[in-house]
């Protein structure tokens, strides 16, 4: 399955890009994507928390990814 990853803040630094096309196998949920990214980019494990959004909404680990989904990687926010 093909998905697009968009990253902000420190996630962008870890991925070394703000946008990434990913061909994933054995990954069908947000939870599995998180594990996959933490394996490929171990620096993600150092973050306090990492969240994901699809369709401009936060999604939980059990969210099923679909073909061509755009997944936003959201490191701890620090607005205000």
């Amino acid at each position: 399955m093909k998905i697009k990853i968009t990253a902000f803040g420190i996630a962008k630094d870890i991925l070394k890009t703000n946008s990434l096309a990913l061909e994933i196998t054995n990954v069908s949920t947000i939870g599995e994507l998180k594990d996959h990214l933490c394996q490929e980019y171990p620096d993600f494990k150092k973050l306090q928390k990492i969240s994901f959004a699809v369709n401009e909404e936060y999604q939980t680990d059990d969210f099923s990814l679909g073909e061509n989904d755009e997944v936003i990687v959201i490191p701890p926010v620090s607005g205000g």
Partner: protein, 161 residues
């Protein structure tokens, strides 16, 4: 829908934006300086018992370390959406009359305004509670990230435990 008469005097159309239910919320992400007075003005309401405003400014230091400047990055469409959710909660839970919620992005100097939240309510106690809830929740849910620049480097705030 009539053809009109160019000789007739122009109709006086008076239009008060605040009377339209869904314009009682004013959400903005700006890359130019925040105008506090615009926020305060927006929430001014004939039934308001109190207007409470939170103004967040850039601090000169973090844990004793001198900050030179700051940069905010946002995932804008979702940040707007999350700010709107907070404003809607404030409208509902505290019976707010109006909410104005402006967040700055880009590079900011020390003392510059990063965020302004203005809330008006019929009774003033609610305005304090609602405004505090709004800033507390913003810091938890709104996808905006702050990078601090020091003399010896830069760091994304809250990114590391």
């Amino acid at each position: 829908m009539d053809g009109g008469d160019s000789c007739a005097p122009a109709k006086q159309v008076s239009f008060t934006i605040k009377k339209i239910k869904n314009t009682l919320i004013d959400i903005q992400i700006l890359d130019t300086p925040i105008d506090n007075e615009a926020c305060i003005d927006f929430v001014n309401h004939a039934e308001a018992g109190g207007n409470v405003v939170f103004v967040g400014t850039v601090r000169a230091q973090t844990k004793g370390k001198k900050v030179l400047k700051l940069e905010f990055e946002s995932y804008q469409p979702m940040a707007i959406k999350e700010m709107r959710k907070i404003a809607e909660q404030v409208m509902e839970k505290w019976n707010a009359l109006a909410v104005s919620f402006h967040h700055r992005v880009g590079v900011l100097d020390i003392g510059e305004v990063a965020v302004t939240i203005a809330v008006s309510t019929p009774h003033r106690k609610a305005a304090f509670e609602a405004c505090e809830y709004a800033i507390d929740t913003l810091k938890e849910t709104v996808p905006i990230w702050k990078k601090e620049f020091f003399e010896d480097g830069e760091v994304w705030v809250a990114a590391h435990p």
